[in-house]
Amino acid sequence: MLRYIAYRSLVALFLVWLVVSLVFLLLHLIPGDPAELLLSQGSLAADPAAVAALRERMGLNDPLWRQYLDHLGGVLTGDLGTSFRDGAPVAEQIALRLPRTLEVIGAATLLAALLGVPLGTYAAVRAGGKADGLLSLLSSIALSTPVFVVGSVAILIFAQKLQWLPAGGFVSFSEDPVQHLKLLILPASAVAISLWAVITRMTRATVIEVLERDYVRTARAKGLSRAPILRRHVVRNAMIPVLTITGLEMGTLIGGTVLVEFVFNWPGLSGYLVSAVDARDYPEVVGIVIVISMLFVFLNLAVDVVNALLDPRISLVKS
């Protein structure tokens, strides 16, 4: 088990390295001068003196390998440079905002799983019935509606018309826990919806498959009643592929937070990214992209590890 986790962690580290290098390459190997690109707004040419100064500041005059090593070294020591906009250290901003994004992702995943697994199981048990058809339609719609549409419509309904919840913003938990949670509900639900659809569909498909397995028949032959069979032998086994798919959805989930934080004014990491891209603040963008990619890789790692815990065969096969 430990060996398996160590192996997966190595793979994850490799992926992080790959992403860091990829981002570096993207910014340096594309035709055109990053400094000039950054300073030029629209069709307006940049001031040559300013470009030269910026090149010096960005270390663009060093040889490429040198820049690359500096870049890697910076990432390793947690130094992601300083913002062009306000000169603040990028790492500090990220450390402040990352937990808020994680909170939305965590709440959304929890919500999606708590609703998706039972509903998917129900649909599988009643496969071909009315409830199954309805759930299939609902999940198709959920998968097809972009998260910012869900968010905007949710604000319209729950904040504007019904006035049940605030339309957006952020209050820290320590300041006002109730308001904090109230503000969390809409963003988390918006992110949760497409994940819910994925989990429901996948649960339905795997439960149907697991129900055909011999060990479910064995469980019946033992004289167990429905609930423990479903819990211990059907859903428990079906969770393994469902979790794998959830892992594959991590990218979409993180993309979802970018839009949702913007829609709900949630001051997380992703919203920070959008404003950084908007301002073309190169160190900020690179820093955030690297951190979010790490997040992506490590969430996937977490999924792998939980999967190995659920399925004792995994660690044996792959390590």
């Binding site: 910012f148 149907i208 004289g223 429905r226 970018v258 990619s293 065969r313």
Partner: protein, 618 residues
Amino acid sequence: MTRTTRKLLLPGTLIGLILAVIVLAPVLPLHDVRAMDVPNRFAGPSAAHWLGQDEFGRDVLARLIWGGRASLFIAVGSALSAAVLGTLLGLLGGYFRGVVEALTVRASEVILCLPPLLLALLVVTILGAGTGPLMVALTLLYTPNYARVVYAATLQVRALDFVTAQMAMGAHPLAILWRTILPNVMPPLLVQMSLVVASAMMIESGLSFLGLGVVPPTPSWGLMIRAARGAMEVSPLLLLWPSLALAGTILIFNLLCDRLQAVLDPRNVTAGGALWLRKGPRRAALPAVPAATDGPLLAITDMAISVNTSERSLELVRRADVSVHSGETVALVGESGSGKTLTSLALMGLLPDQLGISRGQALFRGRDGRVTDLAQLDEDGFRRFRGAEISMVFQDAAAALNPVHRIGDQLAEALRDTGDAQEISRRVVDLLRHVGIPDPERRQRAYPHELSGGQRQRAMIALAVANAPRLLIADEPTTALDPTIQAQILHLFQKLKSDTPDMGLIFVTHDLAVVAEIADRVVVMYAGEVVESGPVAQVFARPRHPYTAALIASVPEGAADRLVAIPGTVPPPNAMPPGCRFAPRCAHALPACSAAPPGAERPDPARITRCIRWKEVT
């Protein structure tokens, strides 16, 4: 119209309609998308403006159509360019393998290390917002999807004979790729295409919504939603129209993808489910069964098992007569397809959903002396018997044990009237020791895959005898094992028999050597019918049915190894011959044999045969 086209008709027509509208946008009598009419801002739907006017008084319908044009142009355009690029990489990688594969397919997969929206944002940072950069980003993003699909398909096709033949004949690789491989990867490409268009629209609209995609004043759905958010209170409809258009279009493309997949891979379509999980209506009280004070443990008379589909019902097993006394071992013998496994599953209520007992009785005498007709029980009724009074050892222990639970836990689960954790653990260890698993204290913590095949089967047996059942059914318990282990497991059954002299045992097998070793009586089944039964010694010494005789003759005997295989095969259930079902393969068949099903005849009080010519031919 075939089913295929009917399935694709709905999404196909809708997509056609949408495409037609946006292609014809320049010639449709629409308002100018940029013509402002500030006095009439936020005006509701009217004859001139069907969907109303926006925050600058512009016509919403026109903007919706032109916005869709922008969105779809970007989505379809990048889906196409990604398809071309990805297909190329996939074909090259899959055809040449090796270094080329690393440089094409694997290299493109690096993109998958980044969350999609993030990569798009990165590209936009570098290239600036706008339609061009968006398409570059989306093309990059979806190239690996196509490359993977085409790569996998190419590998498959590459191995086909006609492709190998062309390679051997020295055809130019490009010609081979173009002529044979490309047409073969078309279907998965189409599925991928509809998926990518839907997904690209999601990302395009998201970026436009953030103000990083399509640049105003070009209308786009994402931008329209962004603008409408500011005016939500005044005019919620402005938010609704582009939202509906966007979600609806994506939904249609997703639908097309689902349908395409269903058409290309029909396996997925069959709905499953499990009837036993649904609580049925409570059955009326069971008809009282006259109970003799003394009788067999199990008496099956004239039982039939049928498939019940809506069209017709088909008997898979009929005229099954089997009885088992306590302490007796009855072997159920026959080729595969003879109905022996179905018969034993029926006794546990474990028949597949579409099958059921359609006739006859299966009277079982319980521990309390009461007699129950198993043929009348429903799922809840069976639960009382399963594991406690009747239990079963399944053929393939590797599949029959749950891979994610420890052996000990699966065993503990089977125990009835348990005590505290310590007591349970003690009983589990005792059981494992009883079935001959070495070091049971440690082994109970093992997962099924950590045990050898023989030990798994022993664990399976421990599971079945956990509550000292009155009737044990073993369905081909040794078939999946190698010969030495087979002998050990057989030995274990003999030991269990002598340890629990009251237990009845039904041993299902196709192996006559095993029958001779373990059984007291034998029941021979053929094509869903019991054709002969009687004490093992008598039946083996003098079979009274040509099928039994042929089976015995086909057993290799020592060094002589004179195997006389029975010619022909068991007829399929939907094409059973009339009369005697063995007639097509029987060396002694006469026209009379096919006139009517032979009745049960008793050559001896203890024996039954269903052959009209038993007197002459055996």
